[in-house]
């Protein structure tokens, strides 16, 4: 692992391009090479060191404007980005757009142009429509970070998941480890982004859930995430959990019943919920994760959520560090030298 220096402490806008990082935007993980992912993880180490200081603040992004633009309600992701940006001394503007104005009033493109005219250097965007950050990146002159788009991607979540796994796994690596993502795979941007990062990391990745919530993923698994990067899809929860090193439960939303995808939450909990009994199929030192927000008693039993093997609050803390790392890395790449 190459050493990464602590962020520079220079004046306004002083962040130089980080070594080896050439991407202007972070939209999804499909394009990232393993060395790039490793660079993010190493930079995150440095940021965690900053978080451990009495005053967890460095001036790396002083004078930079980071605007969060959220078209979907979110507390933890938005606040995590805000804290991350403030820890780097950026000015932060939060814009929340009621979902109703997505279809009426100012267009998305106009909103992006307006935000840029108001001085935003970096745009953190959450949108209910898959792919919206790609359109933003085409319009916006600065850096775009995808904070979750539709069912498509949540790259910072997947990176913080990977970081947390490496922190907890015995040898600090997920390569060859059985990692299970359990729940509503179909609607999950977290699952999709984790497919890219975990297969890049060489994990033995399993996606598990009811067949109605796995639709389409068999095709993806058959094709492989990318050349030579297979993963497994199954609705057999026992087969998935057997000897798992990591289990991540995903939130089950009530709308899935209305759409006829699930009979009831009770039935889901009984058949797919992550209980202590089911967890006994996994390795004794299994790492239990959840991207939040949790429905305790549905996809995860309360005594599993609070089990010492659960790292759910670590995920939150690491989320800040990962987002600091990404803001820092992207801030060094401007439009003129854009590569990614």
């Amino acid at each position: 692992m190459t050493a990464v220096e602590a962020p520079p402490t220079g004046g306004p806008g002083a962040a130089p391009p980080a070594r080896g990082w050439r991407r202007r935007h972070l939209l999804d993980l499909d394009e990232l090479t393993w060395p790039e992912i490793e660079l993010v993880l190493e930079t995150t180490d440095a940021m965690k060191e900053v978080l451990g200081r009495p005053i967890a603040k460095v001036p790396a992004l002083r004078g930079r404007n980071v605007t969060t633009l959220f078209y979907e309600a979110s507390t933890r992701t938005r606040v995590s980005f805000e804290v991350a940006a403030k820890n780097l001394s950026a000015d932060v503007v939060n814009v929340a757009v009621a979902s109703s104005s997505v279809t009426k009033g100012e267009s998305f493109v106009d909103t992006i142009r307006t935000i840029e005219a108001l001085g935003a250097d970096m745009l953190v965007i959450r949108h209910a429509v898959s792919g919206a950050p790609y359109l933003a990146a085409e319009i916006f002159g600065g850096n775009v970070l995808n904070a979750g788009d539709g069912w498509h991607a949540h790259p910072t979540q997947a990176l913080l998941d990977l970081y947390t796994m490496r922190e907890r796994l015995p040898d600090g690596s997920v390569a060859g480890k059985k990692v299970v993502i359990l729940g509503d795979i179909l609607h999950s941007r977290v699952a999709r982004s984790n497919v890219w990062s975990l297969t890049a990391a060489g994990a033995d990745l399993w996606l598990c859930g009811p067949a109605t919530l796995l639709r389409g993923f068999e095709a993806w698994a058959a094709a492989g995430a990318a050349a030579g990067r297979p993963f497994t899809v199954t609705s057999d929860v026992s087969a998935a959990l057997r000897d798992a090193a990591v289990v991540m439960a995903l939130r089950i939303q009530r709308e899935r019943m209305a759409a006829g995808l699930l009979p009831s939450l009770r039935e889901y909990a009984a058949r797919f919920g992550l209980t202590q009994e089911r967890l006994r199929l996994a390795r004794p030192d299994v790492v239990v994760m959840h991207p939040g927000p949790m429905n305790e008693g549905v996809e995860i039993a309360p005594d599993v959520a609070t089990d010492p093997r659960a790292v759910i609050t670590d995920q939150v803390t690491n989320g800040v560090a990962v987002r600091m790392a990404l803001l820092y890395l992207l801030a060094g790449v401007h439009g003129e030298v854009a590569a990614g």
Partner: protein, 493 residues
């Protein structure tokens, strides 16, 4: 090769073609099934001479150069007038059609107001006449009032007003019962019901063909089964209807799946009066274009015919989620596209129809899921088709038949003219240089709709001249001089 001569005064768009000679060139006449070297001469708007050449005179002429064919017929286009003239007008649509080699277009009735009563037919006819373009504009009427799927539109009156068929395009005829009545009622006039086949309950909010690409991109799936499900319903209804009304006919619009085409193939074998069309984008493009691939569909399947994984083989070259690729039915996986092309080649698909669907920037420069469905495609149809010919999966003669005699058979006498290189008839033909490539740019398009996924790409088959009903509909400003002699002297290649 004669020295370049500029188009003379007779080559004015809209004017009668007083004199136009082409050849030696490759003539294709799907009406007679004949193709080969020859020359044509247009005088006073009529096709005066069609001379097939052989021996010395034919030397060096092959189907890879200048081609002369009957004017193309598009069974399926949206010109947006009345109601959405920002996206297209009858006049701009005619200009686009002529640039694409089309001399006849059949417009879908989903305008505002829709074509559900005769006055709208008259309004469109008046706009077509006023434009000065000789491109013939035919229209469909709706099946139901306001395309609402409840009550039959004025089918009889619309038939009297000259419509060529009936369609609730944009959605399937909602109930099997209404479809049955529409087939019976339209059957009295000998006119087809043109079905947009899509089982709505399987497509709520759908954004992309359900499969690998939609899964990876997190787009709501549009399953192939939604198309075959309605085709099966419609064919069952048709089979019962023809016992009562043998003139009933069903035409299936823009089929996009192997399963639907298999059902049509079997129904035709049973003798059912069913026909169907496929579009250029469903034979040439695949769902992987949504992810950023830009190769032809036939290049996106492996030796076994299965779609390749564009994430695994480095095929992604463009930004994902391009709304120009969002269309209904959606771009399917490459195996379906190849099946559509095979159906066109074997005649299961009777016609290539463009489903030209221009949209404004306002409706397309938005988030993918909120973007309007549709591809502006009447000007690029020939190029895509010729690329398919170049792939070896369909012959040039069959490809051009799908743009001429195929749609003509479906229109029957309502086409109002003979199709073919017929001496003495008003000239209705297209001249294109198959070997000349042109770049699809916004400036190169006559349509107001710039929503083409092919923007920036080079296509084979530059149209040099389109003559409709004896009048010039389009002439290439640069190439017509060198390739098409306007003084009767044969121009070489």
């Amino acid at each position: 090769m004669t020295e370049g001569r500029g188009p003379t005064g007779t080559l004015q768009v809209g004017a009668v073609v007083e004199r136009l000679a082409v050849g030696p060139a490759w003539l294709v006449d799907p009406a007679t099934g004949r193709s080969g070297p020859g020359e044509i001469l247009v005088e006073g708007g009529r096709l005066r001479a069609v001379d097939w050449l052989s021996g010395e005179a034919a030397a060096g002429v092959d189907e890879r150069g200048i081609v002369v064919a009957p004017g193309f017929i598009d069974l399926h286009a949206h010109f947006r007038e009345p109601g959405n003239e920002d996206a297209e007008t009858i006049a701009t649509g005619q200009a686009a059609a002529a640039h694409g080699g089309f001399t006849t277009v059949c417009l879908m009735p989903n305008t505002e107001p829709p074509v559900d009563e005769p006055s709208v037919v008259a309004r469109i006819g008046a706009a077509a006449a006023a434009s000065g373009s000789p491109v013939r504009v035919l229209v469909y009427g709706t099946v139901s009032v306001g395309r609402g799927g409840e009550q039959l539109a004025a089918i009889g009156e619309l038939a009297d007003a000259g419509v060529v068929g009936f369609s609730d395009d944009g959605a399937s005829v909602r109930s099997a019962a209404l479809l049955r009545n529409a087939l019976l009622y339209a059957g009295m006039a000998g006119l087809p019901v043109v079905e947009h086949v899509e089982e709505a309950s399987l497509c709520a909010g759908a954004e992309a063909h359900e499969g690998l690409v939609a899964t990876v991109l997190g787009l709501r799936g549009w399953p192939a089964a939604a198309e075959a499900a309605v085709v099966a319903r419609d064919l069952a209804v048709l089979e019962a209807v023809v016992e009562d009304e043998p003139r009933a006919r069903l035409h299936l619009a823009h089929l996009s799946t192997r399963e639907a085409l298999d059902l049509v193939r079997a129904a035709k074998a049973r003798g059912l009066p069913v026909s169907c069309e496929v579009t250029p984008h469903h034979i040439g493009l695949a769902d992987e274009w949504l992810a950023g691939a830009r190769r032809w569909a036939w290049e996106a399947v492996d030796e076994t015919g299965r779609p390749r994984n564009p994430w695994a083989d480095g095929a992604l070259v463009a930004r994902p989620y391009a709304t120009a690729c969002k269309v209904n039915p959606p771009l399917r996986s490459a195996d379906h596209a190849v099946a559509c092309l095979a159906a066109l080649a074997d005649g299961t698909a009777d016609a290539l129809a463009t489903d030209h669907a221009p949209h404004t920037v306002v409706d397309k420069l938005v988030e993918f899921g909120l973007a309007a469905n549709g591809i502006s495609g009447i000007e690029t149809a020939l190029g895509v088709l010729l690329a398919a010919v170049d792939s070896g999966r369909i012959g040039l003669d069959r490809a051009l038949a799908a743009l001429t005699v195929g749609p003509a058979l479906i229109l029957g006498e309502r086409l109002g003219r003979r199709v073919g290189l017929v001496e003495g008839e008003p000239a209705d033909l297209v001249v294109f240089d198959r070997g000349a490539r042109w770049r699809v740019t916004e400036d190169a398009l006559a349509s107001k709709g710039r929503n083409s996924p092919l923007l920036g790409r080079e296509l084979p088959g530059r149209v040099l001249a389109t003559v409709a009903d004896g009048r010039l509909a389009y002439a290439d400003p640069e190439l017509v001089a060198g390739a098409v002699s306007t003084d009767g002297e044969a121009a070489g290649r």
